[in-house]
């Protein structure tokens, strides 16, 4: 668990993600209502909220999978709502995304899954370099032996690790985790959390972690934002929030 001094020092760092007054609604249902967020360099920011609170919608707006109704989203000082497709694709090379269900391409082997982002971002890369990067990414998640297996031959935890290796392969500056421990048994979930911590140390990435797993938030977070009814209800370190007397905040930690 990180202490409060960490939080204070973080605020002096450069912001890598800046979201201002984000608004998104589907029909009459308002999912995000004036949502604001700032994430800093080398920070692990946890976004917690109950199901349907707009966490996944927010993260999809952040990578351009959904268009917000209004508001400003800046990633690495670029306003993503104003980027052309090619500019957005270039920016996406700086962002790794771990999907909730791993989202491995099931018609491709593990090697092909990892080569996929490389093929489209590194045009002049030769086979030797590609192999090296694939092996390096697989070794960082401890699964180098699975290189020629198909995703269906792997367990849920292994699939999540491979997905993490794929998110890492372009050495992104930011990694977005969408419910990284959902659907995993407690032991595998702990392994994934440990892996995320190691990766953050090794690659010096900034991480935005969407979760409702309190253990995950406790271990990994530098700072937390609690999302309630589409807006950021509370912000602070794990210690500050978990000891809050506000019943609405307490409900997140029970």
């Amino acid at each position: 668990m990180k202490d409060e001094n960490t939080y204070t020092s973080i605020n002096k760092r450069k912001a890598v993600i800046r979201i201002k007054n984000l608004q998104k609604q589907f029909g009459d249902t308002v999912v995000l209502n004036n949502f604001n967020l700032e994430m800093y360099e080398d920070e692990n920011l946890v976004l917690m909220g109950k199901s349907g609170s707009g966490k996944s919608v927010m993260i999809k707006c952040l990578v351009g999978l959904m268009e917000p109704d209004s508001g400003k989203i800046e990633v690495l000082n670029k306003d993503i709502t104003k980027l052309e497709r090619t500019e957005m694709d270039e920016l996406r090379a700086e962002i790794g995304f771990l999907f909730q269900g791993s989202a491995l391409y099931d018609s491709m082997t593990v090697r092909e899954n990892l080569e996929f982002p490389l093929r489209h971002h590194t045009k002049r890369m030769n086979i030797k370099n590609t192999n090296k990067l694939v092996l390096e990414a697989l070794e960082s998640v401890g699964l180098a032996k699975t290189i020629d297996l198909m995703p269906e031959e792997l367990s849920g935890g292994m699939q999540r690790r491979i997905a993490l290796a794929r998110a890492l392969i372009l050495k992104p500056k930011i990694i977005l985790y969408d419910e990284p421990t959902t659907g995993l048994d407690p032991i595998t979930a702990k392994e994934i959390i440990q892996l995320m911590t190691n990766i953050q140390k090794k690659y010096k990435t900034s991480s935005l972690i969407i979760t409702h797993d309190v253990d995950c938030a406790r271990v990994i977070s530098d700072r937390m934002i609690l999302l309630l009814e589409g807006t950021n209800y509370a912000e602070g370190t794990f210690k500050e929030l978990s000891t809050s007397e506000d019943p609405k905040i307490q409900a997140f930690f029970k």
Binding site: D89, E90, L104, F116
Partner: protein, 260 residues
């Protein structure tokens, strides 16, 4: 308003769907000529659709030729016209029955598989993962599949037609003591460009329709496993209907160009 009028509701959804399909086709042509070209994936799809459909198309074509000849023989024999069997069978198969039946078989084999594959990719966020990794999923998944189906269908249909004629020749050889050489001589005498060209031309459109509808249904499938099933099923139903409409237009145009 449409809630109280089921016919109006159906018409509304039909036109909405047709509009969306047209926009999807428009996007295909726009993306087709823009870089990067996913050549490797295109070849993989050609192999998946072409090579892996050969057995199905071959067996269907063989039985088609066999049964068609067996059924026609007694009637033609009654009129003493059994020597016309190779001419009649070859023209029927090459012009109409071969392309339509094989396209329908391929709508089931290829269209449903595209619908199910893209539908499940959408449900499991694989399409989103592609987008996030900086690849245009429309180019990678849709353009390659539609193009492969458009180019593979004419080849599959030509192959199926040839196998159907072999089936027919076999029946003639056994029942009518007609040698294979004589049978195929008659077939090639009977067939001309006016038979082959329109049939090959329309088979490109059949392939395009199979690829387009399969991709459209899969790419726009709703969430959940039920959505995948619906995408696969409706891809086959809509494609089959579209094949007959294309066939009608092709026959009409052929009549206009070549006359009766």
């Amino acid at each position: 308003m449409t809630r109280n009028f089921p016919i109006a509701k159906n018409l509304y959804s039909f036109f909405t769907e047709t509009g969306a399909l047209s926009r999807f086709a428009g996007r295909f042509f726009k993306e087709l000529f823009s870089r990067p070209f996913e050549f490797r994936e295109f070849l993989r799809q050609c192999y998946q659709m072409g090579n892996k459909s050969l057995l199905l198309v071959g067996v269907t074509g063989f039985i088609l030729g066999l049964v068609f000849t067996l059924q026609s023989r007694p009637t033609l024999e009654e009129f003493g016209a059994s020597s016309w069997i190779p001419n009649m069978i070859s023209i029927s198969i090459v012009r109409e029955i071969g392309p339509v039946i094989i396209a329908l078989i391929c709508a089931g084999r290829i269209g449903s598989s595209i619908g199910a594959e893209l539908g499940s990719m959408k449900v499991t966020e694989q399409i989103d993962a592609m987008e996030v990794s900086g690849t245009n999923p429309f180019k990678f998944l849709v353009v390659t599949r539609i193009l492969a189906a458009t180019l593979m269908l004419p080849l599959l249909i030509l192959f199926g037609d040839f196998i159907a004629l072999i089936g027919s020749a076999l029946v003639e050889n056994i029942k009518g003591q007609v040698s294979f050489t004589l049978y195929f001589n008659q077939v090639f005498d009977a067939l001309g460009f006016r038979d082959l060209l329109p049939a090959t031309g329309k088979s490109f459109f059949f392939g395009f329709a199979i690829g387009l509808v399969g991709c459209f249904k899969g790419y726009n499938s709703s969430k959940g496993t039920a959505g995948v099933g619906r995408a696969s099923n409706s891809a086959v139903v809509y494609t089959s209907m579209l094949l007959f409409i294309i066939d009608f237009i092709a026959v009409f145009l052929t009549e206009l160009i070549y006359g009766t």
